[in-house]
Symmetry: D2
Subunit: 287 residues, 4 copies
């Protein structure tokens, strides 16, 4: 199967190599020669798209909804050009496709699939995210995690995997959640459930706090209960969950770690991407 | 707070004791004197209900939707009598309340809450169910679980907790599921994902298979792939997931283990019940 | 290679089958026809020993140092007869060979190896012993192990494996030891170290106590600190470590579980035996 | 109790603070004012030693067996001066005391204790060493540890703790050892035993190799079997266990990580030191 990689960062390049190793005919466009194996590089967008079954854009697809996200390419590539040149039987995939861009694709009769909406991708990205959060904690703390008190805020995708790994390192794992059902799950997995209503009583005894809730859970008031020795690792997406200014005033260290998969395990991140793309190809019956 | 326990088996009796230990004024009816501490026993239904805030029936509430489930009481107690004698500010709780009985309660202006619908109860019951399934496997197998190949069918409430405990015993944990998302979760937790489409290839190498899926997953055809040495422990509720007759023909041992919490850890089962009741009381603001 | 199995219980019979599955020529003597596959059975001791490279006696070898331990054979077989009939190039292995019997073998120019002195066998038997202890606890307790307080007395072979498995089941694992070094190891593995000097303070809060120390550690005085609800599982060999009479007076349940490998996982026990025998054969260069 | 800290690096300074937090009267000498809280600093060696019960030197005590190891002090302090000024009832502790220095202390009637000979210290240092090795692997690998193949060479102090933590992170843990007994232990803990005789067959499939054996185990020949993508983390003390030149030729990345406790968890390292010192004080009955 011919596959096209259009723009993106190191993750897209690794993805190109992994797809080629799997035996696909891979063509790339939107990179300079010194970033990627020349043999994969097409000279023109037309050449790259020609006879391709699946066209894979970057993650995120675009920063302005007009041009492709191409950090490794000197010239700008308009999204509209891509959709105009594609044929209706070609599938377009990329990360974070806006409503606007969806419509643009549709107008051009192109089926666009947002990789970030795929649940298996979010779930699997929880693995490098959890390892990355642990790596950050190890790097920033002057004590070992072994025997430390760690509080994980939120018991969703990232929280669940992170908790298991922390427990596997013999950390005392506290988990803060709001719903009675989540608190029951936390207990079932052998962690210590903390009702968010009673959070303040726990904050001062923690050596490290991992936040996974993307809303202001450690606000200016709650943060007053946190010890200066405590490290906060926020892995929640924008807007995060920590009052950063207040933390700075109180001399509490906060690391807001975003995009961990690509940073701490770029090859794994590319493999997860590849598997997700393969699943979509199978489900759509792309030939 | 005054609480009334009406009928039920050993679990209800243990529940009465646990509630009393918590400092509640507990009255019981629907038991013979030799089954329960006499001091808790009321002589009449009226006496038991008088001034009570919460009336707690058995699990299941009834076998015929007419009379209370009272294995330890010689005389039948009609559900209608209970609702007629209760006051509107009293709350009624029990397990498996049918539509019919709900309506009966409503007609009599009584708020009825089904304990089996509470998610925290189902989740927490996963703990004794998982331990019970492991106990059954230990009792029935002539090899150790350590290093054995175990397949868990289904990755819902029971599957998730069971898998974690099996892994904690150094078992090789395979998990069968159908959805791409579930398979991603299975991988994220460090178990070996088995797409149910490819199940047959795995069946013959398993030392023990735990089924949690309440539909015929190990049917007469699939079961042909299972080894005679393999133990099957079915913890799925009725109708179960194993073709029992075919298994018998093939001389494959199947243990269909239902109601494990009450059997393997009756005190824990009663404690889960108590915590669930306490949660409901708090949520409803019962005084 | 021809191997001879002489006497013993079910474990010896399973061993015979396992050795045959491995492709050896196995002959057995000291069993009745209805206990073992007839094809393996020799009619006389001479026939059994003829051309054999290794002669494998029971575990334990004898109860009186005169006759072979043959629970499944109507006639007594004197040890002396065996050694007299064996040839000097044949190796004799069995469990618990006394000084006296060693000398008897030596007098007859026979090399005897005690299987119970092999460290790999003691270590590996720790696996079924640990699982068996957990099975006993699950069967006897009315609460789940999950979240329970368990105290393991002694951090030797059995203690180490048992603790890891208990932790894997989300038990709170306390370990009692005397030496500073052992207490450091206990902490390194993520368990809670208990200096035996301060044992009394911990005893009353335990749900289950596993003893692995073969001397009176839970004596009449210490046992006074143990709660009536606490289960004691003693897996220490004779003389055990619990004052059984005092425990009975205090209505504390004690299960003294000996020989767990053969009871809870006879096939695993036979496999460990087989692997140990194979190791010895390799080391001795038996042909 | 008055305690004296003489020279050393950041670990000694942290130790001084921890001992003071415990309520001891701590005096330090051999540091410049800007490295340590002035209130603890003595102006002269005599002042520092006066009325002290225990004198704690650095780790290692000296680099030349003549002068104290004082990286934070401009002037050299001869060991002989210290022992001459100490009184016979004062105890001297430090790390890595040579035969020569022992004799020097003895000549001056001073009891010297080598902290590095204390088993609890070696064992507990295994915790930050294991976490540090994992941190290094996380930092250097472009894939996650989750699901990776890791080989640990050696099953001594460091190997045992490292393996448990790797397993807790859902790594496939292979362990290389030579003795039948160690291989049995490895199996008992649920890791995959690799007989060093068969090591070459495993090397090529590993994502990361941790060496804990302080002798040339990954020599120029064995290393030929290792993949270029494989990371080697050597945590064995001098002379290490990897042919570094050959690895460089083959473009295989090797990180030789020494002194991990002080680097990755300096506070924990100081706490372990403090606990060891406290144990010695108790055992010696120092007043």
């Amino acid at each position: 199967m011919k596959l096209t990689i259009l723009g993106g960062d190191g993750r897209s390049i690794r993805l190109a190599y992994l797809l080629e190793e799997d035996g696909h005919d891979v063509k790339a466009f939107g990179f300079k020669e010194d970033h990627i194996n020349k043999l994969l590089l097409s000279h023109t967008l037309d050449e790259a798209l020609d006879k391709s079954s699946v066209v894979i854009g970057p993650i995120p697809l675009s920063h302005d909804e007009v041009y492709l996200n191409t950090p490794f390419h000197p010239e700008k590539i308009p999204l509209e050009d891509i959709f105009k040149k594609m044929k209706p039987d070609q599938v377009f995939m990329a990360g974070k496709i806006s409503e606007e861009v969806y419509n643009l694709a549709k107008t051009n009769n192109i089926k666009a699939v947002d990789l970030m909406n795929r649940e298996e991708m979010s779930v699997l990205n929880g693995i490098p995210t959890a390892e990355g959060a642990i790596q950050v904690a190890m790097e920033e703390m002057d004590i070992v995690l072994h025997g430390a008190n760690a509080l994980v805020l939120g018991f969703g995708r990232m929280g669940k995997i992170l908790c298991k790994k922390l427990q596997g390192l013999d950390v005392n794992v506290y988990v803060g959640a709001r719903k009675v059902k989540d608190l029951a799950w936390i207990e079932s997995y052998g962690y210590i459930p903390v009702n968010l209503v009673e959070l303040n009583a726990y904050l001062k005894n923690m050596d490290v706090i991992f936040n996974t809730i993307p809303s202001m859970v450690l606000d200016g008031e709650r943060i007053l209960n946190i010890n200066q020795d405590t490290l906060i690792v926020d892995i929640a997406s924008v807007p995060g969950g920590v009052d950063l200014e207040k933390a700075k005033d109180l001399n509490i260290k906060v690391i807001w770690a975003l995009g961990l998969p690509g940073k701490v395990a770029p090859k794994t991140a590319a493999m997860i991407l590849k598997n997700t793309i393969t699943n979509i190809i199978e489900e759509l019956g792309v030939l």
